[in-house]
């Protein structure tokens, strides 16, 4: 794409983008931890944000040694004989929410600018909708409304496709994904919408090597 379709778009600074607040688990690799300990570790991460932090290592050493107890007392083994539901309570579950969807697609890079869709405000948190009972055997819905940088952006379809591929790969099969343009954000709004949500066309597009190449470039920046 030698010629930019939109030469100078508005850009948001990464720090302005919504993120999931102090999700310490990510950093601490989800060591199942007492709430108290997690709180402490969160405090700590605010002061010294690295896993190498000596203090953190000390805390973990302490926890480890404290956990060193004869088998019957060991928490982790306690639920060996419990049912899996028991485990469920142990690992309280996090629902799939709009923030999670946002995080999935925010870092997709724009096909023509070296920027992410979020930075270009093509996707934003409030234009994502999740309808999910949380039940594993029931259909759930995700609606993503995207806003191209300019109303004649011929790449809108490509961007939409990128988002759809990302979500289809990332979400459980029970999710129905709808991707549409925000009202009035595009000259040929309806055509684009129709195409983006035509199951058959999307499937075919994903078998087109060139297209797939571009898409995987867009997705290569996904964090």
């Amino acid at each position: 794409m030698s010629e930019f379709i939109n030469e100078n778009p508005e850009i948001l600074d990464d720090s302005q983008l919504p993120t999931r607040k102090n999700d310490a688990n990510d950093l601490l690799l989800g060591i199942s931890d007492s709430i108290a300990n997690l709180e402490r570790k969160n405090l700590l991460l605010k002061i010294d944000n690295s896993v190498e932090s000596e203090v953190l290592q000390n805390i973990e050493l302490l926890d480890k040694l404290l956990a060193l107890q004869p088998v019957p007392l060991l928490v982790s083994d306690a639920d060996e004989n419990e049912s899996t539901d028991m485990e469920d309570d142990l690992e309280e579950s996090d629902p799939i929410d709009r923030q999670e969807i946002f995080d999935l697609i925010a870092s997709i890079s724009d096909p023509e600018h070296p920027l992410s869709l979020a930075q270009l405000a093509i996707v934003n948190l409030n234009n994502i909708e999740v309808i999910d009972s949380g039940k594993r055997d029931e259909i759930a819905h995700v609606i993503v409304r995207i806003t191209p940088t300019i109303t004649h952006c011929s790449l809108a379809t490509l961007i939409g496709l990128g988002i759809r591929v990302r979500l289809e790969r990332s979400l459980p099969s029970r999710f129905r994904i709808v991707i549409i343009l925000t009202k009035g954000s595009h000259q040929s709004e309806n055509q684009v919408n129709k195409q983006l949500n035509d199951k058959e066309r999307v499937a075919a597009a994903c078998e087109n090597p060139q297209l797939l190449g571009v898409v995987s470039n867009m997705l290569s920046t996904c964090k």
């Binding site: 720090s15 989800g30 010294d48 000596e54 000390n58 419990e82 899996t84 028991m86 996090d94 594993r136």
Partner: protein
Amino acid sequence: MILKSLVDSYLANIDINKEKTDELGSSIANAINSGDFKILDVIINLKNEFISEDEKKRQQSLHCLSNILNNLSSATLKKNELNVIFNFYQSKIDELNNMTEILSGFNSLTTMDSVSMLEISTLLNIISNEYEPSKFLTPTRYQTFLILSNIIEKYKIEMKEDPKFLELFVSTFLHIANGEKDPRNLLLSFKINKTITTNFKNIEQFAEDLFDVLFCYFPITFRPPKDDPYKITAEDLKSALQSTIASTPLFAADAFSNLTDKLKASSTVVKSDTLSALNECINNFGAKYCLTEYVPLWNAIKFELMRNSEGGDVGLATIIPGNVNINSDVSNYQLAINIVISLARVLSEFDINAFNKFFNYILGELKPNFKYNKDLKQSSTVLSALGSVNAQSFNKVITNSLPLFLQNTSETNQLKLIIMNLSFFFDSYIAVYGSAEKDMLNNTVIESSLTPYKDEILMILGKALTGSSEVEVTLRTLSIVQFTKMIKMKEFLSEEEVSLIVQYLSETILEDKNKNIYYACLEGLKVISDIYEPIVYEISLKRMLSLLPNEINATINLSEGKTIEKELILKIILDYTTSRHCLVKESIYGICEKLYEIAPLENSNNYCFILITALYTLLENNISLIKDEEGKEIKNTIEDRLLSTLINNSSILNDNHNLNLLSIALFFINASSDRSGHQSALEKINDLFIEKYQIFNKHSRLVIPYTKLISGLDKDCKFNNCDKYFESCIILLQKHSDEIVQFNKLGYLELLMVMSNKWLDEKYVSDSLDNLDWSNLSSINLEILTWITKALVIKNSKYSAGPLEKFVNLLENDKVGDFVAKLFEVFVVDIGSYCSKKGISRSNNVKVLYKQKFFNYVFPEIVSKYKLVTDLNIKSNYLTALSMILKHVPNLLLELVIQELVPMLLEALKMQNADVKISSLETLNSVCEKNSVLTTKYFHTLVPLLLKLLKKSNTNNVRVRLLTMQLLQLIALSVPINYSQSMKNNVLTELLDTLDDPKRIIRKKGIDTRQIYFEIGQTPSS
């Protein structure tokens, strides 16, 4: 007789064996030097050849003679002898084919002491009248250059005194130099030319010719042939030519006009040659000429300077002194700037009015740019360059330049430009007055023409920083950077002004949420505290500390309703105090003070926690910095109060983390304090804890601080009745094992380890181990044994083998085996306050390589036993024990046993025990990271095993699932593509479940892993 034969064999060897001829030549010469023969004898011996009809023979004879002459010492020949030979050569001069030999003969003669001025002049005449360079090959021509350079070196005085002679020489030189092409000859030609122009006056009439014979080669390019015997480089020629052109003001007029002319060239190479030549000229010709030439010069380089866009970073260009000779890879822009600087220097050193003229001229040209906002960067760079040579120039420049753009505006882009331009002039200041160094408080402020603008500048930068909107990150960063630069300017700011800046920066770092700004401020504060640490302490650190509230949940208000978390304040303190003595010390004190305040309050645990964390980190980061004296001071100032705070406040005493961390902090304080006080310290501590608090009679949380405190003390301290306490400690543990809480128990166990490692004789320790009841499998007893054994293990004691063997055997015990397995981690786990760290080595007996020794002993034991047993639980015990160890041993060791290990690890993945799986997965991960060959080898067994671990179950807990996917990712990246391809779809399908996992962190990992597998074998295009 002998001579005859020598000469004959010489002739025989010519063109056949050079070594031989040279050798003969010199030996004959030596014989002559030592008076065995006369040179005339040689001539006689060669007579027939000289007059022979045979051209070749004649040449050979000349060859012989010249070679001999060449080897003669300059004193040997007598006047008449020399005269004879001279005439002989002269008589031969028409034998064009022998010219090389003849000239080299002459050349040798010119170096002889007995040669006469008459002969020299004659020779010069011969060369200029009877020798036609163009007729001869390079080697021949080379001889003439040799001759002339010898002559000029030898006869400078004569030439000075006798203009006729000089004239003769110069014209001869011009004669041979014309049209020369050979690099070796050119080097000589340039050299002679330079010697002429730099040694003699009254050669004006030749100036032009000398210049032409020189400049016709400019710009010189030369690609040395392979195996060039003379090893001449293009650089040699370049610099020789350049320095010769620049050698004399005589050339000034021609040089400047011709060079500026060359600047029109399009080739950047030509340009850069020309520019650096010009620069050298300016520096050598002196002000007089520059004064007449600067206008055309300026016009010639203007283009280079204005067109160029890299303006921004040339701030530092101005610092490079113009007279250092420029290496070729400097950009033309830089070269042009250097010319400006050189001109400025030369002129201002000559006469400030000259400089002013020059400056005003350029200023006149650049002024409009400021009016119309065009090429501002470039213009400012030029002006600041002009101001960078000395105080005079600087003042002139500033007074005239700053008014051009320095103005009070709130228009953002305007501000940006102003600040950017300012930075160039700051650089000139530093170039002129130097940069500030440490300890320059109560400094005298230099009165420069920049001084009057100080307030306005500070005002503008301040405005840019505080006045502009949050979004203007660039502008605010710019102003912070410039603030920092001003600090670096030697004796520019007064103390008050520095304080003001510090205030700006610390307010900004507190209030601003943007991370770039944060780091800019941080950098600024660091720089400042390098120079004005006390000010930073007074203005910034005190403020930060004072912000920390005295209630638990108080919100901290900054200006304009902004607020900040206390955690962030502490983070800032930690970030910028590091390795700044005073700041570190004061932060430590400040935080302690705060802790004294907070600890007594209701449920202040978390607040205490972050304070303690900060304190801990400060000590930990700067342990090497805090030297004995300082350590002592710190210890004396805070230890007692800290200790009593710890003991008297449940917010610390009854909070595991707080107690543990603060105790370790106390450990640091002791470890870094002057050792002379340790003995008394130990006694004091013992009185307090053993006598007063009776920690060995009734179990108490105070054992933790006690253990950490004594961990820090010198191991050479004398610990009375250590053995007695050691035993009572064991008894205490055994008696109260049921009611004593895990945390305290740990404290006592660690204490056992410390005592027996540090103070007790290892024989004694191993005996008491033997006396303990190994058949008692109560957990407490096992733990006691473990920790005492650890003490031996970490000091590589020979007594450790026995107990270790017992432990290995315990692994197959079906009751406690699995617990013992976990205990194996204790042996190798590093305890922060008790390991071989630099600086605290004298506090303990931890050997650096103990893990190696331990591992080499235990690993084979376990493996062999593992292979024998069949019972899964027992197997799993061995595996657990192994993985517990592997977590802590250096990878180097792992490498050695990997082949044996992997099959066991794979087996472990099948066992229904989360911990075993985890440990095995962790090890496999680290294996896979390093050893892709091995990974590939086990690929087909490993992957299916892993896919089974993805299904959520109580032995496939979160950690297992995470590690499994971690490993799947690693595999995808490390095995050959045809492998990963084969499994691609399978893995993708199996991973589907993880997408609906209740745990977000698992879903995330699942997605990332799938992404990696999707990309396998895809060729991203664009």
